[in-house]
């Protein structure tokens, strides 16, 4: 198991280019950005930004943005789109567990189903890294696939990495390795000594015409870094 599965480079190269932001991200940013600063002073970071469809929205709305992705192909598209639309953004080809970002410098961090594509130990270490770069009072939106997802039980589970590979059914066929997350995992990943829960929601989409009723399930977790704003 790898921290970054190169399958994503080929997925992006073959034209998997999302253009519109995920609505969970739009709601998160509008509801939770700090109101005491100018928008241009609010710094938002996305883990696994892909072709930057979410950061496009943040930049359009006047926020300062940084995108991190291990896929060179994805960042190529991201930089191109920002250049075309004359938007400012910083894009880093880095591992999530060692970001070249200063301590306490970021207001909002979000991850729309990219951490869930990494082994559990990467998720644990990345959350520590997010804690380091966030301002006290800063918030993190974490969207992993849930263990109630139909694809979770249709592949091979590797207990050492806590990941499922060779997924053969459900909505996650062909996307490589996945860590499916339980409610218990969420509570363990964000200890009360460091984080305060703001929201835990589970979204489930079921296809009722397919006789197997496959379920696509994800958590939408919002946590706040404890401590007073600097």
């Amino acid at each position: 198991m790898k921290a970054f599965d190169e399958i994503w480079d080929s997925i992006y190269a073959s034209g998997h280019i999302n253009r519109y932001p995920w609505d969970a991200v739009v709601s998160f940013v509008f509801r939770h950005y700090p109101r005491h600063k100018a928008k241009s002073a609010v710094h938002i970071l996305e883990l696994g930004c892909g072709a930057a469809n979410n950061l496009w929205f943040c930049a359009k709305e006047g926020f300062q943005v940084t995108g991190v992705d291990a896929s060179e192909q994805a960042l190529l598209h991201a930089r191109q789109r920002f250049a075309q639309e004359q938007l400012n953004g910083q894009f880093l080809q880095e591992n999530f567990t060692a970001l070249s970002i200063a301590d306490h410098s970021i207001d909002l961090v979000f991850d729309r189903a990219s951490l869930t594509c990494t082994p559990y130990w990467v998720i644990e270490q990345t959350i520590q890294e997010v804690y380091r770069i966030l301002q006290p009072g800063g918030r993190f939106l974490f969207i992993p696939y849930a263990d109630t997802h139909s694809s979770a039980s249709s592949g091979i589970f590797d207990p050492a990495q806590r990941m499922v590979t060779n997924i053969s059914a459900g909505t996650l066929v062909g996307v490589g390795q996945i860590s499916f997350i339980s409610l218990n995992d969420i509570k363990t990943l964000f200890p009360a000594s460091h984080w305060q829960f703001i929201q835990i929601e589970r979204t489930e989409h079921t296809n009722l015409l397919n006789p197997q009723h496959p379920v696509h399930a994800e958590y939408r977790v919002i946590v706040e870094k404890k401590g007073s704003p600097l």
């Binding site: 995920w22 969970a24 409610l183 835990i200 929601e201 589970r202 989409h205």
Partner: protein, 234 residues
């Protein structure tokens, strides 16, 4: 009247002014586009029922469709026109209610209802869809998002005294608290009533989307929707 509720209590007060398209609709639209069986030589057209502040309409227009959005709220229509301009795309926005669909001319590849026609009882909705489906091209597609009976708001409506007032079968108003406060009338469906509502269409898919808070802090956010995707025969 629900349309006045949305004008006076919602849009005119600056509530529900969405700026970006609903994520589910982006995916549904891109997936359904390949299932159109309309004449490929005719221009691609789309009608959105209850377009609100135009957050979906600019997205459809940007993707090459000649769009018409209708909404009974004058404030929403103005906001939609401004938003389209901001995004540098054009679409027609008409202030009218669903009973006035008779007066609308045109033939559409898509009719989109992102939780707009749910605001009346079944019989009224049948009448509206009768009018709307005449505007759908043969081989054209309907995407309709509805509230469903497994929703907590329906469960409370039927079981909690004083939570809501029933005005017709599966249809309630005057919700005491929760997501439906001040939104007028809500009709709740199940798979059977949804298929009855769209009896003259070929059903392509029915999806159940739900979201539940499993930890309560700032908000108790829940929804449960049934999404119908159907195609006109011929």
């Amino acid at each position: 009247m629900t349309e006045l509720v949305w004008e006076e209590r919602i849009y005119a007060k600056g509530k529900h002014i969405n700026r970006y398209p609903f994520g589910e609709l982006v995916s549904l639209f891109f997936n359904a586009r390949s299932q159109l069986k309309t004449d490929p030589a005719s221009p691609k057209t789309l009608l959105e029922l209850g377009c609100g502040a135009g957050n979906n309409l600019w997205f459809f227009a940007e993707n090459g469709f000649q769009c018409v959005g209708i909404d009974a709220s004058e404030t929403a229509c103005q906001l939609a026109r401004t938003r389209l301009q901001e995004r540098g795309v054009s679409a027609e926005v008409l202030c009218m209610n669903f009973d006035e669909l008779d007066n609308l001319k045109g033939q559409f590849d898509f009719i989109i209802d992102r939780a707009a026609t749910y605001c009346a009882d079944f019989e009224t909705r049948r009448r509206w869809w009768d009018k709307a489906l005449r505007l759908l091209k043969p081989g054209g597609i309907v995407i309709s998002v509805n509230f469903d009976k497994s929703s907590i708001w329906y469960q409370k409506s039927v079981s909690e005294p004083g939570f809501a007032r029933q005005i017709a079968p599966d249809t309630f108003t005057d919700f005491a608290y929760g997501a439906l406060v001040d939104t007028g009338v809500s009709h709740f469906v199940d798979v059977d009533s949804l298929q009855a509502l769209f009896a003259e269409l070929e059903t392509l898919n029915i999806l159940h989307h739900q979201c539940n808070s499993v930890f309560l802090a700032e908000s108790d956010y829940r929804y449960s929707e049934l999404i119908y995707i159907g195609r006109k025969y011929g």
